[in-house]
């Protein structure tokens, strides 16, 4: 049965030169799990919002959206979950948040009590039912957002990049909850996502959007086959698809790690060696921690327990680890925002205490925080960049030149006169990075730089960071994203319980881990233990294929 039909839908924002959506046609059957993907700015959000009457943007619309063959769409019929877990929560208590939608529908207390109780136990919320919404973790917040939409018993659930701001473990939990809802309750789901590794295999159908048009609408396996490897979306595909794409066989496209592994083991023996190990840069020591201990308060437990590490100029160094392991704290200690109570922090050969006033942040260290929005304080990107140029003591006449140079380097020249909040997540990050780089740091610190940006922006970021490290800058980043770490870093370190457990090249580092490693490595580890990225796996396969 068709639940939703979209016919010839076109949409144009006021004063825009071209359609944001152009002649879109698709239909959704009841009980289907549909995945919508495309690079940022392709019109995903516009399309999803048009499907939800209350959120529909203002503009010129043509075509029809039919809901069970009618054009009506009441709020309780379609639930909507947005990207940012924080900003969707309305009230201050978990139970009140769950009840909010039903209150709006005018449900009596007894009905609300029952439905809220039912949902809370389905989603495992009992444990924090009476807590304040503010005390929850990001994953819990997003789960709460989902549950508070589900209490209204929707027929269709629309989600706009719901895992964008979550760490991989919370994201995987969230996706499996969606799968549970779809399987056990038969609820129809329309999900836009940019992290596809987990979602891709469980979707019934995938729609690929490009420049406001649907270019592909098919089963996931077929999408893998049809999508050209040059397409910017290709980088977002699951590792299994990407590896299969790089090889010339007639096997069907694998989607999951298991299928990928079976595919590789069926076709290859793994008796070649992983080609050349990359050489480690041998610059001067840029930053060094020697037995650093840190705690937030006198009576609080230690967050860092004797952390030691050394990062050289020209090196990209990744710190990986779970939530609360001390990653961000370690970064803040290097940045001089938190002071170690024991141990030494050396920056450029001097202890951090020797830097007085703002000296540490002038031509030395810069930190790009997790949320790039915290970097902006002005009304345009240009004004923000000018502010820091001034603080760096660059004469006013040269500001324009100086700013435009860095803007060209990061590809943000066309964004300079925009308001920072009008930019997409990836664009915001590049602008924030520009502001941070204007202080001309030797050491660049980044906290979770891949959070909330799509695969295309991630690749872009990788190029930028590579360029910086080739210019002799040390780049230290903290991330949950093992795929990104595997691709970009010269060395990776794993932090657990306030200690650095191991630090090595990604090849050696991930080869030693069995769970905490990339999907490509999990597929290929039986054959080539130290092939970590998709490209490396393909390279190994090809080497063997060529020899055979």
């Amino acid at each position: 049965m068709e639940l939703l039909q979209v016919e010839n839908l076109s949409f144009r924002y006021p004063k825009a030169e071209r359609d944001a959506l152009h002649q879109i046609n698709f239909s959704v059957n009841a009980g289907e799990f549909i995945l919508l993907c495309g690079v940022s700015g392709c019109g995903k959000t516009t399309l999803l919002r048009l499907l939800k009457k209350e959120l529909a943007p203002v503009g010129e619309k043509s075509g029809r959206i039919l809901y069970e063959s009618k054009s009506l769409n009441s709020p309780e019929k379609a639930g909507f979950v947005q990207q940012n877990p924080e900003s969707q929560i309305v009230t201050d208590k978990v139970w009140h948040e769950l009840a909010f939608g039903l209150e709006n529908m005018g449900a009596p207390t007894e009905v609300i009590r029952r439905r809220v109780g039912e949902m809370a136990s389905f989603f495992g919320i009992e444990g924090w039912f009476r807590r304040k919404t503010d005390e929850l973790s990001g994953g819990q917040k997003q789960l709460l957002n989902l549950a508070s939409v589900m209490v209204m018993q929707p027929d269709l659930l629309i989600l706009d990049e719901p895992t964008g701001q979550l760490d991989p473990i919370a994201a995987a939990d969230f996706i499996s909850t969606l799968q549970k809802i779809n399987r056990e309750l038969g609820l129809t789901i329309l999900l836009a996502e940019h992290r596809l590794e987990e979602v891709f295999p469980i979707a019934d159908r995938v729609l690929v959007l490009e420049n406001g048009s649907v270019i592909l609408d098919d089963k996931p396996r077929e999408i893998g086959r049809k999508l050209s490897p040059c397409h910017p979306m290709f980088y977002a595909m699951p590792s299994a698809v990407r590896i299969r794409q790089g090889l010339e066989t007639n096997d069907p496209y694998p989607l999951t790690v298991r299928e990928g592994r079976e595919f590789l083991e069926r076709n290859f023996k793994g008796d070649t060696q992983m080609p050349t190990e990359p050489k480690l840069p041998e610059g001067d020591t840029a930053a060094e921690l020697k037995n650093v201990w840190f705690r937030y308060e006198k009576d609080a437990p230690d967050v860092l327990r004797g952390v030691s590490l050394k990062v050289r100029c020209g090196e990209v160094f990744c710190i990986l680890g779970g939530n609360g392991a001390g990653k961000t704290t370690a970064l803040n200690v290097i940045a001089g925002l938190d002071r170690a109570y024991r141990g030494k922090v050396m920056i450029g050969g001097r202890t951090i205490k020797d830097y007085k006033g703002g000296a540490l942040y002038r031509n030395n260290i810069a930190l790009l925080p997790q949320n790039p929005q915290t970097v902006f304080v002005k009304e345009t990107v240009r004004a923000d960049l000018a502010e820091i140029s001034e603080a760096m003591g660059i004469p006013k006449k040269e500001h324009k030149n100086h700013i435009e140079k860095i803007a060209a380097k990061l590809g943000i020249s066309n964004l300079l006169d925009r308001h920072p909040y009008d930019l997409s997540g990836g664009e915001q990050q590049k602008c924030a990075l520009a502001k941070v780089l204007l202080s001309n740091p030797k050491i660049l610190l980044l906290d979770e730089p891949t959070k909330g940006i799509d695969a295309y922006a991630k690749q872009n970021l990788q190029k930028i960071l590579r360029g910086l490290s080739q210019n002799g800058k040390a780049v230290i980043l903290v991330t949950h994203d093992v795929e990104f770490a595997a691709e970009i870093s010269d060395r990776c370190a794993f932090i657990f319980d306030g200690e650095i457990l191991s630090a090595d090249t990604p090849q050696k580092f991930f080869a030693e881990n069995s769970f905490y490693t990339t999907a490509a490595n999990r597929m290929a580890r039986g054959l080539w233990k130290n092939a970590v990225t998709c490209e490396q796996v393909i390279e190994c396969c090809r080497a063997e294929g060529a020899r055979l």
Partner: protein, 292 residues
């Protein structure tokens, strides 16, 4: 004060308002003393040893209010001595003492009110009468900690870029203000996303209801009636002029008619009600435990 914190918010609110009205607007030595004693016991039971830290503050305040009163008031017929040619009268001194008792009594009851009437109870009570504003209050309460966290993040981010790190007071105020302005931009952008989430969940339809987790049990009803009764007795007393007590020109005698005794007893019981409940609860619990 677990027993008292767990009863229905409506009863708690009625109780606090009753006690506060009497302790704030009556001016009778017996009633005011009862209010003070009730307040001391309540706060002590609520906060335990922590309450002891404030004793110094209250004692100073007591002396300040009591001692300074004769400087402002020269009424009364019993001069004790003269200060700069103005009489310091016995009546003014005694009134000062009563005033001090009243002030501290009210402060303690307000403190107890703040501890017991948490924001969710407050929201529940006003949710029915002013539903929209109580929703606004609930949202604001949710935003405050989030904004506080964000403002810390912003100032750290700025610090790590070497901006806004001046040490002088004007610099600090300026920096705080700039971070604050950046916060406003951030919060309003986020607020618009929140409003989308509200609309997506049907906000704005007619006939919105108000949900709460509180239940009104029969025992709450009994307590509410008792509370109102104990409050009405001193009010009736006031209406009949029993609680009228004047200091000037001469201090009245404290009435000891049966009606007056009833008024004193009723308010005394009201002021000690949470304490009595607590003791009762403890006894019941002990009996229950000994039976297991």
């Amino acid at each position: 004060m677990k027993a008292f914190a767990n009863i229905h918010p409506l009863v708690e609110m009625t109780y606090f308002m009753s006690v506060l009205i009497v302790s704030m607007f009556f001016s009778h030595p017996v009633l005011q003393t009862e209010a003070l004693i009730g307040g001391i016991l309540f706060c002590a039971a609520l906060q335990g040893k922590k309450a002891a830290r404030d004793i110094g503050f209250y004692l100073t305040l007591f002396l300040m209010v009591a001692v300074t009163n004769p400087l402002f008031s020269h009424n009364g017929v019993t001069p004790l001595f003269f200060l700069n040619g103005n009489p310091v009268t016995l009546e003014a001194v005694l009134y000062g003492v009563l005033l001090a008792v009243t002030v501290i009594g009210v402060l303690l009851w307000c403190k107890a009110y703040g501890e017991i009437m948490t924001s969710d109870k407050f929201l529940y009570l006003f949710g029915k009468a002013i539903p929209k504003l109580s929703l606004v209050l609930s949202m604001a309460l949710r935003f405050i900690p989030a904004y506080l966290r964000q403002s810390r993040r912003v100032s750290r981010a700025q610090k790590a870029m070497g901006l806004y790190s001046g040490k002088s007071i004007t610099d600090r105020v300026k920096n705080q203000a700039r971070v604050f302005i950046a916060m406003i931009s951030w919060s309003l952008e986020n607020a618009m996303e929140t409003s989308a989430s509200m609309k997506a969940r049907g906000y704005g339809k007619k006939g919105r209801t108000n949900f709460s987790l509180f239940r009104f049990y029969a025992s709450d009803g009994v307590l509410l009636c008792l509370c109102l009764l104990l409050f009405m007795i001193p009010i009736m007393g006031a209406a009949c002029g029993i609680t009228r007590f004047t200091f000037y020109p001469r201090v009245d005698k404290i009435e000891t008619t049966p009606a007056a005794i009833v008024v004193y007893a009723a308010f005394g019981m009201l002021a000690l009600l949470p304490f009595i409940l607590e003791v009762k609860e403890a006894i019941v619990w002990n009996c229950y435990r000994s039976k297991i």
